[in-house]
């Protein structure tokens, strides 16, 4: 597991990245991140929702209530054009950081 201090910095990138492929509700976002990182990144409800609300306030994601075929109401989040625009430089910044860490301490992003 990654320490919470490091994880906090990556959370924004993680959420925006999983929403790039389509709209998801909160629980799905948490599950998708956990699956794609093979359990290295896990978001509890307490960590996820304040961040989702903050990203929504920044207009990088948009939440809308939807009803599933089973009749369950879920708030689904999708990436906004501003969020897509934000994602590219964010990826660049992280790649740069990994490259710097690789040069410094042999940390690889592969």
């Amino acid at each position: 597991m990654i320490a919470s201090g490091i994880k906090r910095g990556t959370a924004e990138l993680a959420v925006l990245s999983v929403l790039e492929s389509g709209a998801l509700h909160g629980y799905e976002i948490a599950r998708r991140i956990e699956q794609r990182t093979k359990g290295s990144l896990r978001f509890t409800l307490a960590a996820l929702y304040p961040m989702l609300y903050r990203l929504e306030k920044q207009k990088w994601i948009r939440g809308e209530w939807e009803t599933s075929p089973a009749g369950r109401r879920r708030r689904c989040y999708r990436l906004t054009p501003a969020g897509k625009k934000r994602l590219a430089p964010l990826r660049g910044e992280w790649s740069e950081l990994f490259a710097a860490l690789h040069r410094l301490a042999g940390v690889s992003n592969a």
Binding site: H25, G26, Y27, A30, T44, L45, A46, L48, Y49, P50, M51, Y53, R54, K57, W65, R72, R73, R74, R75
Partner: protein
């Protein structure tokens, strides 16, 4: 199965958001807990274990409440005020600067005069500026209007007479 909405509403009691906002947050968090609960049940956990697993998501409800408050609240009032008033404020400042220049260029020029029988006007420190049209009168300044050298002075634009 626990009533997740009731539980979340109880835990978030007193949250500083408007009623609709609270209802949405409660519904959303309850849905998340319920999904987690159902997932654990599907994975073979007992109802008790599934409930406790779902509840492990939030160790500190008070902390979550304040995080949700700050992340859902709109801009702080001071920011809103700044965004509403910065343009009128800058415009007023610019107009004031322009008007000051105009007044200094075209406006009345102060008339400096010594008190009759007073000291050398070149050594005087102005203590008052008086603008006037016709028949204005400048009273002799009384106690407390002397400069540090003990000089007394009046500056005014008077077309009338000084008493």
């Amino acid at each position: 199965m626990p009533d997740w909405q009731k539980l979340v509403r109880q835990k978030l009691r007193g949250i500083a958001l408007d009623h609709d906002d609270v209802a949405q947050v409660v519904e959303e968090l309850a849905a998340h807990l319920e999904e987690d609960f159902q997932y654990s049940l599907a994975a073979g956990a007992t109802e008790q274990v599934a409930t406790s697993h779902a509840l492990q998501h939030v160790r500190n409800w008070h902390d979550l409440k304040s995080k949700i408050e700050s992340s859902r609240k709109q801009e702080l009032p001071v920011n809103k005020r700044v965004s509403q008033f910065w343009f009128p404020a800058v415009l007023t400042l610019l107009l004031t600067m322009v008007l000051l220049e105009v007044v200094q260029f075209y406006g009345p020029n102060p008339w400096v005069t010594p008190i009759p029988g007073g000291p050398n006007p070149l050594r005087m420190t102005p203590v008052a500026v008086v603008y006037g049209q016709q028949n204005c009168s400048c009273r002799r300044l009384r106690d407390g209007h002397f400069d540090e050298n003990g000089n007394q002075s009046v500056i005014g634009q008077c077309h009338g007479r000084i008493r």
